[in-house]
Structure formats: C-alpha cells, structure tokens
C-alpha cells in the first residue's frame, strides 16, 4: 500500500543575516532526510559555507567527501579525508553576495546505527553547478544538522523526512 511521505519537519527563513542555523532534535521516525536551501547569498563577499552533523565540528577525522563542479569554462573534481562533510570553502565555490544558491541535500539512513552516514548534494548558483558526496564515519543516528556560514537575510531552509 502506498504511503504518503516527504513530510516537512522544520523550516527556517532568515529575517536577518545569520552565521549559523541548527536543526536539532530531528524527528527519528523517517529513513532519509532532505534539506533544501534556497536563495542563499553571503552577507559579505567570499564566505565559507559548511554543514556538519551532531556537533562534530570541522575539520574532523570522521568526515570525507568528493565533489565535481563546472562553471561554464572550467570543470574540476576534488576529494578529502579527515576534513569536512559538506563544504564550500574554495575560491570557486564560496558563497558570494549574489550567489542565489539553491541546494538539495539528501541524507540517507540517518537513524540507522549499523552504518556510516552518507549525503548526496546538488548545488547550483549564479556561478557554477556542483555535485558532492559526503560521508560521516560514525554509526550514530543524526540528531542535528548545523549550517555554518555568514548568510544574508532571505535564505530559506526546509527539512523533510522520507519514509522507507
């Protein structure tokens, strides 16, 4: 029997610029999470934009990632181990005041305690498009997600739960 899902769990719209947003006490009754970030601009030029889990602050030995990006003239791929889960901190993908970035972050099996946590990320903005995968080498359930970065007013964050 079909089960309606993709339920909105929480949402935040920045009324003023903020350096951090945390979704805490995340509902543990779903299988996957999707965090959709829209209209994301930096409050001033060249701002790092980083996501981390359960207060495991970056850089952390538990994080690893791989990404690819293209800006219309250059394509690039990079990876790291022991640093960041999801980050945009290089000259080609830091937030700008006119980025107008939108991101869809898929977090799989976030309550499963027999596996590391994996994310797939789509990001597009005024400057580039990017796909990224992050892994948190920790079997704990994800109970909080923090978005770190100096972001201008007007950004929206919507967190959804998907059953399986």
């Amino acid at each position: 029997m079909a089960t309606p899902t993709y339920d909105l769990l929480d949402s935040v719209t920045l009324a003023s610029s903020a350096s951090s947003v945390t979704f805490s006490s995340i509902d543990q009754s779903y299988r996957d999470l999707v965090l959709v970030c829209g209209n994301v601009n930096a409050s001033s030029a060249n701002q790092n934009f980083v996501f981390y889990l359960n207060g495991d602050y970056y850089p952390s030995t538990a994080y690893s990632a791989v990404f690819m990006e293209g800006n219309g003239s250059v394509i690039d791929s990079d990876s790291e181990t022991g640093g960041y889960f999801i980050r945009f901190t290089t000259s080609t993908n830091r937030l700008q005041t006119d980025s107008n970035a939108i991101l869809a972050i898929q977090l799989f099996d976030y309550t499963q305690t027999d596996r590391h946590k994996t994310a797939l990320v789509n990001r597009s903005d005024s400057y580039a498009t990017m796909r990224l995968a992050g892994r948190w080498a920790n079997t704990s359930a994800i109970t909080s997600i923090t978005v770190d970065g100096n972001v201008a007013a007007g950004a929206t964050y919507h967190l959804y739960g998907i059953s399986a």
Binding site: A2, T3, T5, Y6, R31, V66, G70, S77, T118, L120
Partner: protein, 199 residues
C-alpha cells in the same frame, strides 16, 4: 424534525467562507508516496520490483538506494534494466568526478545492455548512495528516460556521477531489474532499495 430558520443574528463570530474547507486544513493525498522497500537480510544476486503497472496513477518513479558489496575484497557493480530486457536496447551519458578530474562517457554510439550503474563499497558499514528518477514510466508513446546521481566515498571508492539513461522502447515499465555486473560480487546484507511514486 422541524425546520429552524438559521440567521446570522444567532451566530457568534460569523464569517463568510469562500470554499468548502471552511477554515479547515486542506487534505493532502500525497504527491510523493512510498511504494515498496526491499532491505536485504542476507546478500542477494538480484533485486527486482515487479507489478509496476499497478502504479500507473503515478507520473514518475524514484529509486533511493544504499548499496554495499557482499565481499570485503571487491566492490559490487549494480546495473539497472527494465522489463527483463537484457538486450542492447539502452544508451546512457555520464559525467563523473573521481576527486582529481571530471570525465564524461557515453554509450550513445553503441548499444548498451543497461541504463544505469552504481558501484557499491566493500565494507559492511560504508554504503554507496543513489537517487534515480524514472520519468513517465507508464507512457505508451515515449522511450523511457532516467537520471541518476550516485556516489561512493570511502572503503576504496571516491567518485560522484551524474548519469542519464535511455531505454529505447515505448512500452510501459512494469518491472525494474537490479543486478550485479559480476556474479562473484553481489549485493551485501543491509543494502536498501526503496521505490517511490511521484504524481
């Protein structure tokens, strides 16, 4: 029972409503529904979703996969086909980042016997992930297309891949076949395959 005239004079907080909801929250009938999930209790040499014709009231399908290998010695490579068609009736394009460079591949210039691949990692607690969108799966007039985002990071895997796939057939998709490319390295315990309908 007698008829009693009802007038606004006897109603407190009277307000006119413009629809039948009369201030109640709208009922959602679901635009994104879970249809089936298969989680492997033991390793498996294939996973199949059948009877998809019963979901023809949906426009699109989405597969969400977490995949590991049954072997600690080698990855497993999942290949996706539909309707039991193992012939060379597919083509695909991909762009792939491996942490150093980005490459693009295609099977357009020659026929392929699958429309999507996902490489699953070889460690029990590290899973590769995929989101696969299957467009207009019940159409009687369109060749069938998919797009997928897949990745593996850890346990020897470092890649992220965006892929489009084509099944050169206008028949409705009634089954999805997920098979390992190498029968020696099959899908590991705990691998999860969830199918959703999108209206």
């Amino acid at each position: 029972m007698g008829v009693v005239k009802l007038s606004t004079a006897g109603i407190l907080d009277y307000s006119k409503t413009s629809n039948f909801l009369s201030g109640n929250a709208p009922v959602s009938f679901g635009a994104f529904d879970l249809l089936e999930t298969q989680t492997l209790a033991s390793s498996a040499s294939s996973v199949t979703f059948t009877g998809l014709d019963s979901y023809s009231d949906y426009k699109h399908l989405q597969l969400r996969i977490m995949l590991s290998s049954s072997s600690t010695a080698a990855d497993t490579v999942l290949e996706m086909r539909v309707n039991g068609d193992f012939g060379n009736n597919y083509s695909w394009h991909s762009i792939r980042g491996n942490g150093t460079s980005v490459t693009s591949e295609t099977a357009l210039s020659y026929p392929s016997d699958y429309m999507m691949v996902l490489r699953g990692s070889r460690t029990s607690d590290v899973y590769s992930a995929a989101v696969v969108d299957i467009m207009d799966f019940a159409s009687l007039s369109k060749n069938k297309t998919i797009k997928s985002l897949t990745a593996g990071r850890g346990a020897g895997l470092t890649y992220i891949q965006l892929q489009s796939g084509l099944w050169i057939d206008t028949s409705p998709i009634t089954s999805i076949n997920l098979d390992p490319a190498n029968p020696s390295y099959i899908f590991g315990t705990g691998s999860r395959f969830s199918l959703y309908g999108v209206k």
